[in-house]
Symmetry: C2
Subunit: 445 residues, 2 copies
């Protein structure tokens, strides 16, 4: 009775004389209801058998000992509405891990916690960041984007003007060229996946195709380069081949539905699908059409890889084919034998992920994982495989293939081909070893 009178005091929406928790009342009662067996129902058995087959094995949930009890949360009103929602708690909600040189304001990275996420979309608050001098304050009323250099008409676009142009949306990943680069080192990192491989995130981006703005400016078709820079204080400037710009590059104004956030380039960033993060210029300021690359620090000193023959590779824009198991991950401890779902991500800068195979015996045998549909071009692709752990030591790994015919190399092949002086573009097969205690560690072989 106390519950009922609480309810009527606390919730004027309760227009019934009886308890507003009929489900509970009947739940308590239901635990005394004689159990009806479904064993003789053929249709049920067939349907059930079919489902369990796809599952491989089942997870033993606990028997419900007694009827449901009255939860504390039924005794009191909940929290009120908010204009903009937040995650549950900084204590145990997924957060970005920040690796920054505090002696240089805003120089560093924040990592997407891939090991704590599911599906393919990265929520905006967890999108990775690589800043060279922090997040600039940009006044949208004073912001302008300029297009100049070898054009018929040098133009300036205000934010209001830009919003009148036709927009398109595409779901695509952005990955830092230096993602996973700790794995070039002789010893594997034992950090969770997101803090080794989490300089990649995936969003639905919406913006104006840059080709439309360049058409209005009237570009010199013989000028093969576009030099882009931004409003931040780090002097980031990059040179991009005009062909890619005219093909699929956007001026992104929205990320996952809402205006691009300051940390991701508000009010506008360049979106160059499938190409290394540095060229997706944030806080976009100037686009200069040129007949030659600028050879800025970011074209030359950074984002350039020393090859094993002593030569260096520049303008290596396209990100390679890559995959990664995100659950389980290094540092996990499998609490029980039996069913676990292996889940991970695959992506490629060239087309679509066509196939991901998973091995639970360190490569002796491989099984194709299920790919979350639809698989999109240059987008994170979720793969999943049901797996039953028998308690013995195992090694798990995944290998991805894409529509351009590329396949993900194992670590030995990558080192043989590229040498050991590389800093960027690490995309080798990732291995996790699990010992008989269920402890998961990152391994190189």
């Amino acid at each position: 009775m106390k519950l009922t009178s609480n309810r009527t005091r606390e919730n004027s929406a309760n227009t019934e004389g009886r308890s507003i928790h009929p489900a509970t009342d009947e739940a308590a009662e239901s635990s005394n209801v004689p159990v009806e067996s479904a064993a003789d129902d053929r249709r049920h058995f067939i349907k059930r058998a079919a489902r369990l087959a796809t599952l491989g094995t089942t997870v033993a949930a606990a028997p419900l000992a007694r009827g449901n009890t009255i939860p504390d949360s039924w005794q009191t009103p909940g929290a009120d509405f908010s204009n903009y929602g937040q995650p549950r708690s900084a204590i145990d909600s997924p957060i970005r891990w920040v690796s920054a040189d505090r002696s240089v304001p805003g120089d560093g990275v924040s990592w997407t916690p891939l090991h704590a996420l599911e599906g393919t979309i990265t929520p905006n608050g967890l999108h990775f960041e690589r800043h060279h001098n922090g997040v600039p304050f940009v006044d949208p009323a004073r912001w302008q984007l300029t297009i100049h250099g070898k054009v018929d008409r040098a133009l300036a676009f205000s934010l209001d003007t830009l919003h009148r142009y036709p927009m398109v949306s595409r779901t695509t990943f952005i990955e830092c060229g230096g993602n996973s680069n700790s794995l070039w080192h002789p010893n594997p990192s034992q950090a969770p996946s997101g803090y080794v491989h989490g300089l990649v995130s995936c969003s639905e981006w919406t913006g104006v195709p840059l080709s439309i703005l360049l058409d209005e400016a009237g570009i010199d078709i013989k000028a093969g380069w576009l030099i882009a820079d931004g409003y931040d204080a780090s002097g980031v400037a990059v040179s991009l081949p005009m062909k890619k710009i005219l093909d699929d590059t956007l001026i992104a104004l929205y990320q996952n539905g809402e205006p691009v956030r300051p940390e991701n380039g508000y009010p506008a960033r360049l979106l160059v699908p499938g190409w290394e993060g540095i060229v997706n210029i944030k806080w976009l300021r100037s686009l200069r059409v040129s007949d030659k690359p600028l050879m800025s620090r970011f074209d030359t000193v950074s984002y350039t890889d020393l090859q094993k023959d002593g030569s260096f590779e520049r303008f290596s824009f396209e990100m390679g084919i890559k995959s990664l198991i995100t659950s389980p991950t290094a540092g996990d401890k499998l609490s029980q034998r039996g069913f676990h779902q292996i889940s991970g991500l695959a992506w490629t800068g060239n087309g679509k992920v066509s196939r991901v195979e998973v091995s639970v015996d360190n490569g002796a045998s491989w099984t194709d994982a299920q790919l979350q549909q639809p698989v999109l071009d240059k987008s994170l692709t979720r793969f999943r495989l049901p797996w039953s752990w028998d308690g013995s030591p195992v090694k798990l790994k995944s290998r991805a293939y894409d529509s351009s015919g590329q396949s993900q190399p194992d670590r030995d092949s990558l080192l043989t081909e590229r040498g050991t002086n590389m800093y960027y573009h690490y995309n080798a097969v990732v291995i996790f070893s699990i010992n008989s205690d269920g402890l998961v560690r990152h391994a190189y072989s």
Copy 2:
């Protein structure tokens, strides 16, 4: 020189003796570069003409009068990294509008600002909410989901146990049965679209197919109903046909990649694709298999519509075919004649949106809008149409069609068919009138 020395002090990553802003230097110079005409380049002209044709007309951007100037944001370091990112500003970033009866804690709604968003994904912080008694505090360590009633084995699932089951992802909308219901009234609302139609949002949801858990419990196939309730203090309990539950219902644990937030049902909510919001039970607590519906307040008093013949319609779960122009929207003022992109959303609870047609002359003629690809089942679908406003008064509207053969009714047809006593399921064609000053208002005809 001051700029350079600032940089070298502030950014140890600057390893060059010269200014780290070469792009600027050349930008300033470039405004004096003699303009090269592209007029004689045939290929360029053909490509450009093709693009402008798709655009219909172009937006006149301002000529760039002088070279770029040095922005303030180049003179100072930016803001530092954060573990979880936030939108720019509560002042001018999109927020949810809250309509709540403050005399009843947490009873009300918060609206997704559809008119301020683009693409199809709703960021988690802007997902609409309908709470009956606020957001309960749920301790994940003590949370359990029970399956009982007419089953072989009544079961209890802890959060850890549930996380071991196979998961799938699907991008789908959730819409409150009462969305747009102010339009049942004789006078149209003049609020922006999101605050009339914004009780619909779209996310990539990831969770466990409920059919797998019911299989483990062993359901009595003759028991046609499932009764679900949650941990909040409002006593929400709903009755659902078992057929839909076994077909595509999920226990959702992740929303747009991260764990479902408290306001959206942490740690787990029921996801019943395409069906009215109320049945997507948040803070899920109990699932009882039954041979009859509960006939709770939410089965009967609420979410039931009085028909024109005096009868009432219950269990009207499926949301209808619907579309809406989100830009421009009521309260906007078109600042200039010429090109504007018409952008909007369409959705249906039965299959996929197959087509959206737009009229800019109040229905005298219609043009098919472009649908953002891929179009997903029971998901928000973005449509767009280039449009040039000549400055005369016009009326804009959209009409959607779906793969099940449904088409969106106009308001007269809807009222003729359903009468004027309805409260839920308003899905008529939405009209915006624009006067010669460019003022946009919501109209009924």
